[in-house]
C-alpha cells in the first residue's frame, strides 16, 4: 500500500520555537512507530539541512503530497510557513492565533479573501492586481482561511477560531477543528532544600505578571526564584529583581523547552502566569505538569481552561500578588507538594506524553486524509485555472493576438508552459 506523503514545514535553528520543538519531539516517534505508513519530507527556509520551502510545490507537481502540514506561531522563524500556507493550503497546527505583525511580504498585500471565495466557487473573477487589500488583524484570519483542517495546541485558540472565522477554503458549515496539546518534556525532581524553589519562564513584561510574582515573593520568606529569560532581557530582569528586593534567584538563558527542563530540575513548583490574548503557555506548562511540578496559572485566556484539579489559578487584578503569596505559602508543605505531584503527573502522562501526542496526530491525519485530498484536488484545479489565466493574458501585453500566436506561442509550448 502506498505511503501517505507528508510535506512537513518546520523552522530549524530556532531553539525557542514551539514548532521546532514539536517537530523534533514528534517526528522521530512518527517515523519509528509509523515507518510503513508515512513518507515525510521536511521543508524549512534553509538549503542545508532540509528542502527549501520554495521547492515544495514543484515537488508536489512531480510526485504529489497527500498532506501539507504546517505549524503556525507568532515568531519570525515561522514567517515562511505563513507565506507558504497561502500558496498551498493544508492541515494547520496553530500554536498562536493572534499575531503581533501582519507578517512578511507577500502577506501584506494578500488577496486571500478573494482567493478563498474563488476556491469555493463563490466568485469567478480573479482578484484585482496592484490593489491594496486591507488586512484585518491581529487574529490570524488569513491563516485560518487557508487551513483546510485546523488543529490547536490551546483550547482557548480553538474557541476563538470557532467564534471568529467565517471565510475558509473548503467552506461550508463544517468548522471542524481539533485540540492537540503540546508534548511535555520530562524533568527530574529538584534536590531538597530549605527554600521553596520556583521556576518561571515569562518575559519581564506586564502581561506575564512577573511584577505580581516578585511582589508575592518579596512578602514571603524562604523563596528562591529560578527565572528562564533571553540574554537580551537580562538587564531588565535584574532591575525588576532589585526593585522588588528579591535576592535569592538564579537566571537561566536562553528560553527554550530544553532549558526549561533544566530549570524545572532545580525547582519545586512552576508559575505560568499570562494576562494576554497573545501567546500561550505551552509547551512549558505541559513540561511542568508531566514533571509533576505544582503549577500556578492566571485564570485568563490560555490558562482559563486548565482544570483547578491539576493547577492553581489566580485572578488578575488588585489581589493577584496576595493570591500568589497564599498559594506559595501553601506549597511550602512538602507533603502536599508530593501529593499534588503524583496527581498531576498521572494526568499529564495521559495527555501530554509525546507517544500519546504522536498517536493523536496520526489519528487526525487518518480522519482527515480524504478531506485534505479533496482540498488538494480543488487547489490543483485553481492553480490550473491560474495558469490558463496567465496564458490567456499574455497576448494583451503584445497588443496583437495574431502576432502572439505566430511568434510567441510555440515558445510557450516549447518551455512546457502550455
Amino acid at each position: 500500500m502506498a505511503k501517505v506523503r507528508v510535506a512537513w514545514f518546520t523552522p530549524e535553528g530556532d531553539s525557542g520555537s514551539i514548532s521546532q520543538y514539536f517537530s523534533e519531539t514528534i517526528l522521530p516517534i512518527l517515523k519509528k512507530k509509523f515507518s510503513e505508513k508515512y513518507d515525510i519530507q521536511i521543508f524549512s527556509d534553509n538549503f542545508i539541512t532540509s528542502k527549501h520551502f520554495l521547492t515544495a510545490v514543484s515537488e508536489h507537481k512531480k510526485k504529489p503530497f497527500d498532506i501539507f502540514f504546517y505549524q503556525l506561531e507568532d515568531r519570525k522563524s515561522s514567517n515562511f510557513v505563513r507565506i507558504h500556507l497561502g500558496i498551498q493550503p493544508g492541515i494547520v497546527y496553530f500554536h498562536d492565533s493572534y499575531f503581533t505583525t501582519f507578517g512578511p511580504e507577500p502577506i501584506l498585500n494578500s488577496p486571500w479573501k478573494d482567493i478563498v471565495c474563488k476556491s469555493n466557487s463563490k466568485k469567478n473573477n480573479w482578484p484585482i492586481r496592484n490593489f491594496e487589500h486591507y488586512q484585518k488583524g491581529p487574529f490570524a484570519y488569513r491563516e485560518s482561511a487557508f487551513a483546510g483542517v485546523s488543529v490547536f495546541s490551546s483550547e482557548h485558540q480553538r474557541i476563538e477560531y470557532n467564534r471568529l472565522v467565517e471565510d475558509r477554503v473548503l467552506g461550508g458549515e463544517d468548522k471542524r477543528s481539533y485540540l492537540l496539546p503540546l508534548p511535555g518534556m520530562l524533568a527530574t525532581d529538584a534536590i531538597k532544600s530549605s527554600s521553596l524553589k520556583i521556576a518561571y519562564a515569562g518575559k519581564p513584561e506586564i502581561p506575564y505578571r512577573v511584577h505580581k510574582i516578585l511582589q508575592a515573593i518579596s512578602e514571603t520568606e524562604n523563596m528562591h526564584f529560578n527565572w528562564l529569560i533571553e540574554k537580551s532581557e537580562e538587564t531588565q530582569a535584574r532591575e525588576l529583581l532589585k526593585a522588588y528586593d528579591v535576592s535569592s534567584f538564579k537566571l537561566f538563558t536562553e528560553r527554550s523547552v530544553d532549558n526549561w527542563s533544566s530549570v524545572l530540575s532545580e525547582s519545586d513548583i512552576a508559575i505560568h502566569t499570562l494576562f494576554s490574548a497573545f501567546g500561550q503557555l505551552g509547551p512549558y506548562i505541559q513540561s511542568s505538569l508531566i514533571s509533576g511540578k505544582p503549577s500556578i496559572l492566571t485564570n485568563f485566556a490560555s490558562g482559563e481552561l486548565y482544570s483547578e484539579k491539576i493547577v492553581f489559578k489566580v485572578q488578575p487584578g488588585n489581589t493577584e500578588s496576595m493570591q500568589i503569596r497564599e498559594i506559595l505559602k501553601t506549597l511550602e508543605d512538602e507533603g502536599l507538594r508530593k501529593e499534588i505531584s503524583e496527581k498531576v503527573k498521572s494526568f499529564a502522562n495521559e495527555f501530554y506524553n509525546p507517544e500519546v501526542i504522536a498517536s493523536e496526530l496520526n489519528s487526525i491525519f487518518d480522519n482527515e486524509l480524504n478531506r485534505v485530498m479533496l482540498l488538494n484536488k480543488n487547489w490543483n484545479n485553481l492553480r490550473a485555472e491560474a495558469r490558463t489565466s496567465l496564458i490567456k493574458e499574455a497576448p494583451k501585453y503584445i497588443g496583437d493576438e495574431n502576432v502572439w500566436s505566430e511568434r510567441y506561442k510555440e515558445h510557450f509550448q516549447e518551455l512546457g508552459w502550455l
Binding site: 538549503f47 527549501h52 520554495l54 521547492t55 510545490v57 514543484s58 507537481k61 514567517n79 515562511f80 507565506i83 497561502g86 500558496i87 512578511p104 511580504e105 507577500p106 502577506i107 498585500n109 494578500s110 488577496p111 486571500w112 482567493i115 480573479w126 482578484p127 492586481r129 485553481l382 492553480r383 485555472e385 491560474a386 495558469r387 489565466s389 496567465l390 493574458e393 499574455a394 501585453y397 503584445i398 502572439w404 511568434r407 510567441y408 515558445h411 510557450f412 516549447e414 518551455l415 512546457g416 508552459w417
Partner: protein, 363 residues
C-alpha cells in the same frame, strides 16, 4: 578568432553594474582579437506577467548568423538573456529574476500569494532550469550568484569575478569629511540606512550620494527622511557623474557605504578598495561579504541606525584606522587580480565552449 555576441538586458534610461560588465567584457574580447557585438533587448520588471513574453522574445531570436558571418558563441549575462538559443551558449550570470528566488517573501519582491503569481513563479523557474541547462559553460559573477543557482535550480556553476574596467585609474587622496554612496537609487540598495544613521554620525561629516533613481517614489522617500532629520546641509545628491568625478569622489572619501540587501556582486566594493577606502556594509549584503572583512578592510554592521551610526563614528574618530582598513582593501583586490588583470580567467572560461563538444539546444 571567433565571432561572439554578448547578450545584455537593458532597462532604458538606467545604468548600473550590468552596463559596466557588458562594456568591459566586449572591450576585453575585442582586445584579444575577437569580433564582438552586443545584442540587448529592453526589459521591464513590471508587469511581471509580461516576463513570459520577454522570455519568448529571446527564445524567438535566431542568433546563428548575420550578414554571412556565423556566430560562433553567445555569452548570456542577466535574466532573461540566457533564454536565447544558440548551439554554443556560455553564461556569465549577473542574476536571475530574484523576486521569485531569494527576494521572495521580502519587501523587494512583487510576488504575492495569489495563485497566478505562484504559477508564474513556477513557469519562470521551469524556464530557468531548461534555459540554463542548455549552456555549455555556466558561471556567475560571484559565489553568491552561483550558490543561488545551485540552491534554487540545482545547477552547478563556477564564480568568475569581473575585474574593474578602469582598475589602473583609481587613486587615493587624503580623506575628507564625507561618506560616499555609489549606487542606483532603489530600495534594495538600502541607501536609507546611511541617511537615517547620519544624525548619530558626527555633525561635520557629510554624505555624498552618486546615482539616479530607477524605482518610483524612492527619491521622495529619501527626501522625506532628510527633511525629518533636517539633514539638507549634510546630504548631497550628485546624480550621474563623469568617470573623472567619480574617481575623485572615491579618492577623497573617508569611507564608502555599501550595504545593499543580498547583493549579487557589488562593483562598489571593488571601486572603494581600488581607491584604498574602507567599505561599510551589513551582514546580509551578499556578494559584498566575499570581499569585506570586519575590522580588516571595512566594517560589517547590523542594518540599523544605531549600529551603522556608531560604526561609522569609529572611522570618523580614528582616521588612521580608516586609512589602514582602506589600504588593506586595496591589497586584497590586488591579490585577487581584480584591478587590472584577472580577465584571462574570465575569458578562458566563457570561451571554453568553442573548444568542447557539449551540444546545446537548437544545435
Amino acid at each position: 578568432m571567433a565571432n561572439i555576441l554578448v547578450l545584455g538586458v537593458k532597462i532604458p534610461f538606467t545604468g548600473g553594474g550590468q552596463v559596466v560588465l557588458v562594456n568591459s567584457l566586449v572591450k576585453e574580447l575585442k582586445g584579444r582579437g575577437h569580433l564582438v557585438d552586443v545584442v540587448e533587448l529592453p526589459h521591464r520588471v513590471e508587469p511581471k506577467e509580461n516576463l513570459l513574453n520577454e522570455i519568448a522574445m529571446w527564445r524567438a531570436l535566431d542568433l546563428r548568423e548575420f550578414g554571412g558571418r556565423k556566430v560562433d558563441l553567445v555569452i548570456a549575462t542577466k535574466f532573461p538573456s540566457y533564454f536565447a538559443k544558440h548551439p554554443k551558449k556560455s553564461l556569465w550570470l549577473v542574476h536571475q529574476h530574484r523576486d521569485m528566488y531569494d527576494n521572495f517573501g521580502t519587501r523587494y519582491s512583487s510576488f504575492s500569494d495569489d495563485p497566478r503569481d505562484d504559477e508564474l513563479r513556477d513557469m519562470l523557474k521551469v524556464g530557468d532550469d531548461k534555459a540554463i541547462s542548455e549552456c555549455s559553460f555556466v558561471s556567475g559573477i560571484s559565489k553568491n550568484v552561483v550558490t543561488r543557482l545551485k540552491n534554487y535550480n540545482g545547477i552547478e556553476g563556477v564564480h568568475l569575478y569581473p575585474p574593474l574596467s578602469q582598475g589602473d585609474k583609481y587613486y587615493n587622496n587624503e580623506p575628507e569629511d564625507y561618506i560616499l554612496s555609489v549606487n542606483r537609487l532603489c530600495s534594495i540598495k538600502r541607501i536609507d540606512l546611511i541617511i537615517k544613521a547620519l544624525p548619530i554620525i558626527h555633525n561635520h561629516i557629510k554624505l555624498k550620494i552618486v546615482g539616479t533613481a530607477d524605482e518610483p517614489h524612492v527619491e521622495d522617500y529619501f527626501k522625506n527622511e532628510i527633511d525629518k532629520h533636517h539633514l539638507w546641509d549634510r546630504v548631497e545628491f550628485l546624480g550621474r557623474v563623469t568617470d573623472e568625478e567619480l574617481l575623485s569622489l572615491y579618492a577623497k572619501s573617508l569611507a564608502v557605504f555599501y550595504g545593499p540587501y543580498n547583493e549579487d556582486y557589488g562593483y562598489g566594493t571593488l571601486e572603494a578598495f581600488a581607491s584604498s577606502k574602507p567599505v561599510v556594509t551589513c551582514p546580509d549584503s551578499g556578494g559584498v561579504l566575499e570581499f569585506v572583512r570586519d575590522m580588516e578592510n571595512g566594517l560589517i554592521l547590523e542594518p540599523n541606525t544605531d549600529s551603522i551610526g556608531h560604526g561609522v563614528n569609529k572611522l570618523v574618530e580614528d582616521k588612521d584606522l580608516a586609512i589602514k582598513l582602506g589600504l588593506q582593501g586595496r591589497a586584497d583586490i590586488e591579490k585577487l587580480d581584480l584591478l587590472t588583470s584577472g580577465w584571462d580567467e574570465v575569458v578562458e572560461g566563457l570561451l571554453s565552449p568553442l573548444n568542447n563538444t557539449k551540444v546545446a539546444a537548437n544545435g
